[in-house]
């Protein structure tokens, strides 16, 4: 709805102000190109979807495992945390040649890049979630003889879910961009490839088709996460009838 409005404003502004097409094409032109060039674009889209889903899944897995590990072994937390931050701060342009030299042009280096992008928000959010567990409930669980495993699965994990989903939302949003960036490591197809090609041959309309695809994908992933959250954390929704 709001998006529609945005499009209309954009269209009229673009037409009125006379911004040239190669700088900012109007939505109509973009849709036209998207429709026209669909068969060309389709395989790129598919490849990026595949890449981002795989990367996100891997990021989720590694992010969660890291968080659980750091949570259960607090004494290594202090020493590992800096490494996590380092992992977020090595620019791709430096990492890229190293990754390609070590792992070639296959799937692996791309996975590494997406995972690097995705796992961090999940880890931070999950860790903070675990830490917030209500003292009262923890007290009960321990008194009732819960083992550390039970404490984790039955209390800390469900308690961290809302926080974890914060991280998932951030991560899902980044996963598509992560995939696109990873394609700059050298790929045969993918939205990233399509976009650089379009950009270097000055086809701004195609660049925007690519952006639309990226944005739509991200929105889609985000909504799926929100749906899963609603379903898993539904007990929260039933509350607060008075608000």
């Amino acid at each position: 709805m709001v998006l529609l409005l945005l499009f209309i404003v954009w269209e009229t502004v673009a037409i009125k102000s006379g911004v040239p097409d190669w700088l900012l094409p109007t939505p109509t032109k973009i849709f036209y190109e998207g429709f026209d060039g669909w068969s060309n674009f389709y395989p790129h889209l598919l490849s990026t979807i595949q890449l981002s889903l795989l990367g996100f899944a891997l990021g989720l897995l590694i992010g969660l495992l890291t968080a659980i590990l750091l949570h259960l072994l607090p004494f290594i937390r202090e020493s590992i945390y800096p490494l996590l931050i380092i992992s977020q701060n090595i620019p791709i342009i430096v990492l890229a040649p190293l990754l390609v030299i070590w792992f070639g042009f296959g799937l692996l280096p791309k996975m590494i890049v997406i995972t690097l992008v995705c796992f961090f928000p999940i880890t931070v959010a999950a860790l903070d979630g675990f830490k917030q567990t209500s003292n009262e409930l923890k007290h009960y669980m321990i008194m009732a003889g819960a083992s550390n495993k039970q404490l984790f699965w039955k209390l800390e994990l469900p308690y961290a879910l809302p926080s974890l989903f914060s991280g998932l939302k951030i991560s899902a949003t980044y996963s598509v961009m992560g995939a696109v960036i990873s394609e700059w490591l050298g790929a045969k197809e993918g939205i990233g490839v399509y976009m650089t090609l379009a950009s270097s041959s000055f086809r701004t309309d195609r660049v925007f088709v690519a952006i639309f695809a990226i944005v739509t994908l991200s929105l889609l992933y985000f909504s799926i996460i929100v749906l899963i959250e609603r379903w898993l954390v539904r007990w929260q929704l039933k509350g607060a009838k008075w608000k």
């Binding site: 190669w22 700088l23 060309n40 791709i92 342009i93 890229a96 040649p97 990754l99 390609v100 030299i101 070639g104 042009f105 394609e183 700059w184 490591l185 050298g186 790929a187 990233g192 490839v193 399509y194 650089t196 090609l197 379009a198 950009s199 270097s200 041959s201 000055f202 086809r203 195609r206």
Partner: protein, 314 residues
């Protein structure tokens, strides 16, 4: 013979082909046409090679080639010069374009026709010290002072965007960006480097490989260069067909731009050289000494080791 056996021999051929890869400098464009022609027309196969053309993205070609991850690459004389100074074992094995086709472009309305017109204008670059030296060299010829040019770093911004705003002129390859301007009907003024300084007529782009390849697999290098050379010769003779081959290989490029760019560029590949790919030691020495004089190099370059013509077909 019947088709079945033909395909069988084909398969056998593929089996015995040597797999090598060539990394481009950035996205595919008409600088690379010869490579695509050689692949499409089977010149590589004729030489017993199965060539994979790779778009490197952020990884950059030079390090991949230097480390041996890729056998061949597309590079520039400037890069190879700097790389060798740092001990990176890259060697240029063919000049793709004989003369430097780059220059300072500006919209016609700005009226920048010769280097002395740079005075009082704003130049948009990417922040490399080379730029100021080049500007200075050109302007010195007309006794203009480079310090009167305001140099702004425009990062990754493309030419057309930049000149819409604070920038008056920028450094482009005419064969691509200039041709795009023609397509758009925008009039440009070009100040070519080659018109003002011999020393700045360096090779860009070139084909590169590493020292190891030359030592261990000279035959492969020879076969590769031979096939590529055939590719570029085809592109020189049949610009339109060559352009079609590139468009077919990379359908996401803008066909109009490729066609027109190819027309412009085809005659520039070999130009006045006796054969395609030929490199002169003088060009290497000139540019390196120019860089050294301008404080852009820490050491002098051993130009003989930086390039070789030994693999070019006779």
């Amino acid at each position: 013979s019947n088709p079945k056996s033909a395909s069988e021999t084909n398969k056998k051929n593929t089996h015995s082909l040597k797999k090598v890869s060539v990394v481009l400098d950035w996205t595919p464009n008409t600088n690379h046409t010869g490579l695509y022609v050689a692949k499409e027309k089977g010149y590589f196969k004729d030489e017993g090679l199965d060539v994979n053309i790779i778009m490197p993205g952020d990884a950059g070609a030079d390090q991949l080639v230097a480390s041996g991850k890729s056998e061949f690459g597309v590079s520039y004389q400037e890069s190879i010069t700097q790389a060798r100074i740092q001990g990176v074992p890259l060697v240029s094995i063919a000049a793709i374009i004989q003369h430097n086709t780059s220059g300072f472009a500006s919209p016609a309305a700005k009226n920048i026709v010769t280097p002395k017109d740079f005075v009082g204008k704003t130049y948009g670059g990417w922040g490399s010290p080379v730029e100021k030296s080049v500007l200075s060299s050109l302007m010195k010829k007309e006794n203009a002072d480079v310090n009167k040019v305001s140099i702004v770093n425009m990062g990754d911004t493309d030419f057309f965007t930049a000149v819409k705003r604070d920038i008056d002129f920028a450094w482009i390859y005419y064969g691509w960006t200039g041709v795009e301007a023609e397509l758009r009907g925008e009039k440009l003024n070009m100040v070519y480097l080659t018109d003002y300084s011999d020393k700045l007529d360096y090779y860009t782009p070139v084909l590169s490989t590493n020292e190891n390849m030359i030592k261990e697999n000279p035959d492969t290098v020879k076969a590769f260069v031979k096939a590529v050379s055939k590719g570029y010769e085809f592109a020189i003779k049949h610009p339109s067909d060559a352009a079609d081959i590139l468009i077919k290989a990379v359908p996401d490029l803008d066909p109009k731009l490729v066609k027109k760019s190819q027309e412009w560029l085809s005659s520039k590949y070999q130009d006045d050289a006796p054969r395609w790919g030929e490199q002169k030691q003088k060009v290497w020495e000139n540019y390196a000494s120019w860089m050294f004089d301008n404080g852009l190099l820490e050491k002098k370059l051993d130009a003989k080791k930086a390039f070789t013509n030994q693999f070019l077909p006779q």
